[in-house]
């Protein structure tokens, strides 16, 4: 579904991604773990061209996104993204946050979008907040709103960039539960996370990134219980205690 070919990203003279070639298949749930500065978020942000790769290709549904003449906006509609800092729209109501994009981009009629928003809000238990502004929501509620905002576009894949890192500890669970439900429904997900227990539980494959490369990858059982590389071992020994 998503394939990267020799993906390189430099910020000035700083090399962040050092030639990543990888394929993510439909229905897979990929967790990306690794130390800060290893390029996890940059890799994720390259998948929908939020960061434009310095060189290499991102191929999504058979289309090379970096090619000239490709309408990236059209492809982004099929790739939902959730951010560490939620980025819900503060000037819109909770419901408008959800309906804005599908209506504006003519994916749904206003009536359809309204109905879909009701369903999605029901799903995350925020139906009674529909007409409030997001400032009234807790961090966990904001992040759940951000997730269903992306789902309203009926994406084929969801990209999560450290979705629980900015949350108070007691709100992490409710957000992870929403992601778990999504995974249960067969959504293809790519998740950059520091929640090792969660990564082990939901992932079909785990990437360990270090110094701009996927240093090691495998099933959660292989990677967490039988890591091969010393660097993976060293990282895991620091985060699993």
């Amino acid at each position: 579904m998503i394939e990267t070919v020799n993906l390189v990203k430099n910020f000035g003279s700083l090399g962040v991604l050092d030639g990543i070639s990888e394929t993510i298949h439909k229905g897979e749930v990929i967790s990306i773990i690794g130390p800060s500065g290893s390029g996890k978020s940059t890799f994720l942000r390259c998948l929908n061209l939020l960061e434009v790769p310095t060189s290499g290709q991102v191929i999504f549904d058979g289309v090379s996104l970096t090619d000239k003449g490709v309408d990236i906006n059209l492809h982004r509609q099929k790739m939902g993204m959730v951010f560490q800092h939620f980025n819900v729209f503060p000037h819109l109501t909770v419901k408008e946050n959800i309906t804005l994009a599908p209506v504006l981009l003519k994916k749904l009629s206003p009536a359809q979008a309204d109905k879909r928003a009701d369903e999605l809000l029901q799903r995350i238990g925020l139906q009674d907040k529909a007409n409030e502004h997001p400032r009234r929501l807790s961090g966990g509620q904001k992040q759940r709103l951000a997730i269903v905002r992306a789902l309203a576009m009926s994406p084929e894949v969801m990209l999560f960039d450290e979705p629980t890192s900015a949350l108070d500890p007691e709100m992490v669970g409710e957000v992870l539960q929403v992601i778990k439900d999504l995974v249960g429904q067969g959504m293809t997900c790519v998740i950059v996370t520091h929640e090792m227990g969660f990564a082990r539980e939901v992932s079909s494959r785990v990437f360990f990134m270090d110094e701009g490369r996927i240093h090691e990858q495998g099933s959660p059982a292989d990677l967490f219980d039988r890591p091969k590389s010393p660097r993976t071992k060293a990282f895991l020994s620091k985060v699993l205690y």
Binding site: L50, N73, V88, H91, L100, L104, M153
Partner: protein
């Protein structure tokens, strides 16, 4: 010199109060027109400065730097003398030329206000909009600008206050603003301090009440955040 202060004050006010108020009105009008057109032009300049095309952004930046780096009085002189020479067919009145100069000046400052207002919006907002599939224009009009307006409006109000004071330079060309009335009254009554004080008080009343209005407005904007 000050023995006749109160009688003189009463005399100047009694004889010219109508003119003073008319001048104040003209100052307000001139300021309003300046800020209005300055805002339109300044917003366009701000968008131009943000353009990825160098042929658009570089001249816009150059314009803003030159205007902000030279005295308004000099710009007023240049434009009011040059404009009728360069574009004689327009047959601009002095008032119109002065207005054009003030607008061209204010636009540079408004440009920076708008630019700062846009930059103050969390970049994550635009990123979230773009990942939903909105294009750059939709992101700007639906997500960034509605939030930037909250930063921009109070600053525009302050620009209005500044422009009210700056229009006094227009009196160099006797366009009938408040400062021009001072010159008239001073010349006719041979008093200096008294009309000065009257004009000063009127300027202060205008700017102070406007500032208070802006503050109240700003508080309401904040409350709705």
């Amino acid at each position: 010199m000050f023995t006749n202060f109160w009688p003189n004050l009463a005399k100047v006010w009694g004889r010219y109060w109508g003119l003073f108020l008319e001048g104040a009105g003209l100052t307000l009008l001139l300021s309003f027109i300046t800020v209005l057109f300055g805002t339109v032009l300044g917003s366009l300049l701000a968008l131009a400065r943000r353009s990825r095309l160098k042929v658009i952004s570089v001249p816009a930046s150059g314009y803003v730097e030159v205007i902000r780096g030279t005295p308004l009085l000099l710009q007023l002189y240049l434009i009011t003398f040059l404009l009728p020479e360069v574009l004689p067919m327009l047959n601009l009145s002095k008032f119109a030329s002065v207005t054009v100069a003030l607008v061209l000046n204010s636009a540079a400052y408004v440009c920076e206000i708008v630019r700062a207002g846009i930059q103050a919006v969390d970049p994550g907002q635009a990123e979230a909009a773009r990942t939903l599939g909105l294009n750059a224009r939709q992101t700007m009009t639906r997500i960034v600008l509605p939030q930037a307006v909250k930063n921009i409006l109070p600053a525009l109000g302050n620009e209005f206050v500044t422009v009210i004071k700056e229009t006094s330079l227009a009196s160099t060309f006797f366009v009938g603003d408040l400062m021009t009335v001072y010159k008239t009254a001073q010349g006719a009554t041979f008093t200096v301090i008294e009309p000065f004080l009257i004009v000063g008080v009127i300027y202060f009343v205008l700017t102070f009440s406007l500032s208070k209005l802006i503050n109240a407005f700003e508080r309401r904007l904040k409350a709705s955040d």
